[in-house]
Point group: C2
Chain length 350, copies 2
Amino acid sequence: MREENDQAVLTVEEVFTLAAEALERAGADSHNAEAVARTVQAAERDGCASHGLFRVPGYAAALKSGKINGAARVKISKPEGSVLKVDGDGGFAPPVHEAIAEPLADLAKRQGIALGALTNLAHFSALWRETELLAAHGCAAFACVSYMPMVAPAGGKERLLGTNPISFAWPRPDGVPMTFDQATASRAMGDVQIAAREGESLPLGVGIDADGKDTTDPNEVVKGAILPFGGYKGSAVSIMVELLAGPLLGETLSFEAAESDNKDGGPPLGGEFILAFAPEKTRVNQTRAGFGGKDGASQTHADHSERLFARLLAMEGVRLPGDGRRSRRPKVATNGVRIPKPLYDKIISG
Amino acid sequence: MREENDQAVLTVEEVFTLAAEALERAGADSHNAEAVARTVQAAERDGCASHGLFRVPGYAAALKSGKINGAARVKISKPEGSVLKVDGDGGFAPPVHEAIAEPLADLAKRQGIALGALTNLAHFSALWRETELLAAHGCAAFACVSYMPMVAPAGGKERLLGTNPISFAWPRPDGVPMTFDQATASRAMGDVQIAAREGESLPLGVGIDADGKDTTDPNEVVKGAILPFGGYKGSAVSIMVELLAGPLLGETLSFEAAESDNKDGGPPLGGEFILAFAPEKTRVNQTRAGFGGKDGASQTHADHSERLFARLLAMEGVRLPGDGRRSRRPKVATNGVRIPKPLYDKIISG
């Protein structure tokens, strides 16, 4: 670590060590600490500050308060049909994701599709890590999680829905999947918090204050509510996420998680909905004229999806979802990961 | 039918007869004509003009040109794992939906989740009918379809993506599911066409003209492109729909469907992705403190989801997705279905 203009500058390797050691000091065992640290490291590697070291003090607080089990061991049940029920043992999400990627992908390859019904875990990060772990096993994947009531439903002026992110990954022949990961809120709360910390203002439409009025001040949005992305349509998708990651799995809705949370700054326990698809089992061989390539029959799903990606990439101004994140890697690798010195000090001393 | 101010006014029953007879005149057998007419009727009953009789001339044209098989018989394969592969036999979507609702729900009840991999059918309507058919069998359901390249991806100025609607239905104890059904475009092309017909202008942000410039003129958007809902996030969801309803199933992408279409005004043949979930199989019994009701263990998924709906409905200004559509039923039942007389004449003479 070196200091520069009130910032701590770290290599991507140092991010892992800093996070893992902080979590172990807070009470996690090395198995759990290192899995979380790999996710923190991946976020910083990709320039996603809001899911990187910024989250570590919250993780540490939740370990110290005893809310999160730092010695958790994931319990994976025998598949029931196409459902893999997974108990996170009250621990962090990343060790769960690392443990289930292979069995969930295997179940999808047998059944065509498989649902990872994850319960009793603390998710406090981006979702692209779990969908990309499944893509690395050859599956397309969708994941969603409901997370703390910070969002007002369309038409409303009060918090009820979580920021409720959704992620989707589709494997590509070069091994780098097409991935998106986005809050169904107009902005993730982490980004609103960072804007507040940096003294930046928000565009109108991102959030409302405690009286339900539009505001550009992130501090007021923190006290009020974020709005869904895309108006009533995004609000509907957010409601779907509440149902899929909650009642469908037998897990908490956002407002239930908040009601039972101890408010130590760390994530509450809850569920996660993960679908894996095995295209070689879901795909019908098509021979009718005009399908895919003109001689469609011998086309694989990857040949086929690459046709879409090629068209997208050929269009001026368009990039694939996830490419922005990956495009930041070389710069981060060269310039290092920069975090505010006070955040660094808090992690070191925490 | 009676005429009033250049409009034809029909009862909901007359809508069915008008549609069914027009489709039979155009060459459909009664099995196919009546299934389509039930979907047209349901749309008009709910005040959804853009998916009602407005579509019948396109259906009739596609029957006459031979693009759509008016004597189609749905072929449902034996389930492979959790996948039900369904060949629409080159016919309309509604008879497929009516045929698969029960077997797909049954498969979901055995496996927890089931994928309806629908191929070789012409979808030209809303998607709530199929998700609500599955909800009537006790399943939650998600459906999506890619439909004709009319939407520019985020950042781009040319059409590539379909309007790519998504629908989700969640069963409720009173038998009326919570349902949404929405284009991932900022507006469905049907609504843009109706705005053009009615001489109305569109809000900025709905579409661009043929030069890629923002416009409020629906006629220019018809020549240019619609924009995704919610900016880059909606664009990413639209790309997911292309992949799920296309390469995952071995079916066409939007631009492929357009390239092979005969442009008779009717829908091209393509695929549909339908997921059914059986909550009684996916739900984990939870007993830990703070979950759901304080005595969470005996709570059903329906008890649980009703807690969310109650909170939503208690909030001023908020209604449940789908309630707007259903709220129009009494007015339609009283005042009748009103369509432009020229549309009525076209259907009668078509």
